[in-house]
């Protein structure tokens, strides 16, 4: 179950929307934060509090790829491989991370420290290749600086 603070937060968010279903997306983010990913228990908690059937909550969530649908590492690396990033070597970075650091697209490192997701364009074409680590933005990536950046996340 969710802790009291999270329940309070959910109820506050609910008040900002005209009906419970409209509040689903932010509510799912809170549940995801609390449960680590959108587990059956996370859907049930959201369903219980908002009064939206759990099957509907899951249907909405699975429409969006940006929710965590399975357990993930402590830090999420979101690397863009769209046109500009690709041209400037993003795919090489993907191979580099995979071969040197065991970080595969869609996978999680064995120590649970990192998960990697391949992103669509994050609007940093001018400074490609780019990525997000959790909510932090990084650009002009190279094999050297990407390792240093990742070092900062434990």
């Amino acid at each position: 179950m969710l802790n009291e603070a999270a329940i309070k937060e959910l109820n506050e968010i609910r008040q900002k929307y005209p009906n419970a279903r409209a509040a689903l997306l932010p509510a799912l983010y809170i549940a995801q934060r609390e449960f680590g990913h959108l587990s059956p228990e996370a859907y049930e908690a959201v369903s219980e509090i908002l009064g939206v059937p759990k099957a509907i909550a899951r249907g909405v969530a699975t429409f969006y790829v940006m929710y965590k649908h399975k357990p993930m590492g402590r830090n999420i690396v979101q690397l863009c491989t769209n046109v500009s990033c690709m041209i400037l070597g993003a795919e090489k970075l993907v191979d580099f991370l995979k071969n040197k650091h065991g970080l595969e697209p869609g996978g999680t490192t064995s120590d649970g420290r990192f998960s990697m997701v391949i992103m669509e364009c994050i609007g940093a074409c001018g400074t490609a290749p780019a990525m997000l680590v959790n909510d932090d933005f990084y650009e002009n990536l190279t094999e050297d600086n990407i390792v240093k950046i990742l070092e900062r996340y434990k």
């Binding site: 009064g51 099957a55 899951r58 249907g59």
Partner: protein
Amino acid sequence: MTIQDKTMITININGNEIKLEKPVTVLEAARSAGIKIPTLCYHEQLEKYGGCRLCLVEVEKIPRLQTACTLMVTDGMVVRTETPQIADVRRGILEFLLINHPLDCPYCDKAGECELQDLVEKYGPAKGRYKEKKRKAPESLEDPVIVRNMERCIMCTRCVRMCEGVQGASAIAVIDRGGHSHVEPFSGGKYDCEYCGNCVSVCPVGAIMSRLHRHSYRPWQVKEKTETICPYCGVGCTVVAQVRDDSIKRVIPKIGSPVNNGMLCSRGRFGYEFVGSSERLTSPMIKKNGVLEQATWEEAISLTAKRLGEIKNKYGGSSIAGIASPRCTNEDNYVFQKFMRIALGTNNIDSAARTGYAGTQTFIENIFGQGATANIIAGLSNSDSVLVIGGDPTTINPILGLQIRACSRKGGNILAIGHIKGLEKFNPLTVSPRFYTETVLLEGLVSALKNKKGLSGSIPVLEAKIKDINTSAKEVENRCGIAEKDFIRFTDTLSESLTPAIVLGKDIVQSSGGSYKLMLISAINYLMNARIYLLCERANEQGLLDMGCAPDLLPGYRPLAFAEFRKRYENAWKSPISEKPGLSIFEMVDSAKSNALKAMYIMGENPVFNLPNSKAVTAALKNVDFIVVQDIFLTETGKLADVVFPALSWAEKDGTFTNMERRIQRLRKAVNREGMEDWRIISEVSKNMGVKLNYSGAEEIFQEISRISPLHRDLTYEEIEKGDAIYPYKGEPLRGVMEDIQMHKGSSVNPDGKLYLRLERPLFHSGTLSTKAPALVKIYPEAVASISPSIGEALSLKSGDMVKVSTRTGSLELPVNIDNKLDNLSVMLTNNFENKGAFSLMEYTIDPVTKAPVIDANEVKLEKSVRLDSEVRA
């Protein structure tokens, strides 16, 4: 609404001028004129969707093709539904749908009634141009009843819209997106839902299907399609039984049928397999040296006639009692009571309706007149508020429950006394009084409504009682634990309602002070000018009462006490009728206990299991010298009998049922089976006793009923089949002649720190009959004791652990189910599973007015126990 509503609109479709009174969609306009437009996502029971694009039509002055299912007709619109361009588009859409559709038609159960197959046959394409591999998704066989094949799914979302928008279960949803979309229940595999199967009904392809008849027949092999009435509850849904080789392959609903209009519940749709059960009785049996042995019909009939004759001569008719059946037809029950009254000379006739329905109805009709409870179920959804008391309508009468959900969807208020699980998603305004303070809450409601609404003077005896009731909101707060402001909001909402309805379940009449509570509910009904619906657990509970299967009633629901009515039947039957009222079913048990009862004739009922305190009932029945049982299975009661007759089941006979609206509907024989209808067995026994009760068939019996019963006057099978048999038919309802309202306040109970055993009325079971239907057993396999999480914690029990449930009358070892919606005083148990019935642990007292059993004060103890390894389910 707009002025447009009242003007006539003309639309031209394919050169035909169609005049319409109000705006409808182009599709509806075309269908009304007999013009077919192909559809896949459209379904008349569902919200419009416009997703499949097959109904695209050309509309003059609109440059692009339009979806006929969503486009509203405007005046002067010119539409073409079949042009080369449209045919091209439809072929193209179908080609897209077939990219992933597996075309496994030879193997698919839907072939022959598949809408996609029919459309491709009509529009093509004969060949697809896509070379890519088809989407793969293994068929989901994780569920015991419903099988999903997502390769076949065409994403019309009919099932999802049905589940959410009509059934209100919201158990399935579209998962993922784009080409990966598929429909799934929450778990992804097994369903956790109401198992209504209405998603199966609306699926146009073979994506969601019933497992019951999987690969056992082809739709075109079904020659017999019999329209009949569901055998389970008192709603009386129309079902169509599809039969092959004298075996029911499938039961489906029918769109446009009067009560259920294309909807069914789990029992109706999946509960039919008991008909073909190998456990069915096949031959009469006679008890010899304490063992039931097979016998011929002649032996069994002549023995029964001889023994009943002897007992009647020696001890008189009052030493014999009969129990009629709410699962048998009107015709069976009519012949049964006639046999008891004229062949055996006794009014000792009653039924399990005495456990609540009969007493409640008589009580309410005594105040408001006959027919007060005969209200149309479909009308519930048009009420602006529905007050639900004493049971969950969505499990007891699921199709009626849907109307309450529809009422909420249309903006009506649901007002609930106590938590009603099946309505919790429909914004109910709930007040939950503390245990045994329901009376105070009802008194509070009556007082509040009296002050708001005033008294009209039309029913003085009831008003006299209402005047004495003065319970303030403060008192309700103090005693029931309902905050004053919540109570006031509740009463305000109720009193502001203009078209209220009350839905009343059996928990009220089976609780202490039941008749007093019924008076209070009648008072609310009176003050609100509401309509009242009585939840009705058995298909013909109403019918058997109307047929006179009660100790104090003659056919037509006429009181035996009036000489005028007795005379009428004496003349018609050419036989005297005892003026002495008979024994109620519970008085029969007492009489058996004291050895006064010498013989019992039991038709289609299992009193040993279906009456509370089963052990005492069993002991009492063992005292009876001679017991005859007619049934389709060898029940607990049948095992005690001296003669057992195998009866024909619901699917094997003709007749009529009267539902809770008092609508009379036709039951039609769907399958053949050797044997006799219940009425025919009785008439054979009667003939052997020298009393002729000869009828050629059910219709002749009904003709006699409509000739002599003032209620059913002049009613024919033809009218019933047309759907015209709606209360009050053409007969005379009896007006109440009541001097005073009898009631009993009951005793108060102090529930502190105790646990009470309560009866769970499950959605998936009905009596023991449903336990002979394998699909329902797969859904709800065994008796479980449901308790709240905090009781579970106190005993360190989790779901699945074993617990010993003990009361003064015995104990059962049961698995536990933790239910977080339950309160901390209750242990819930069903009365459906052999040797594990709640009634075996319950004692009762009788409410002196309704004669119903009061079962709300059975203290219970729980102890954790260990399930033996041999009992653990694999």
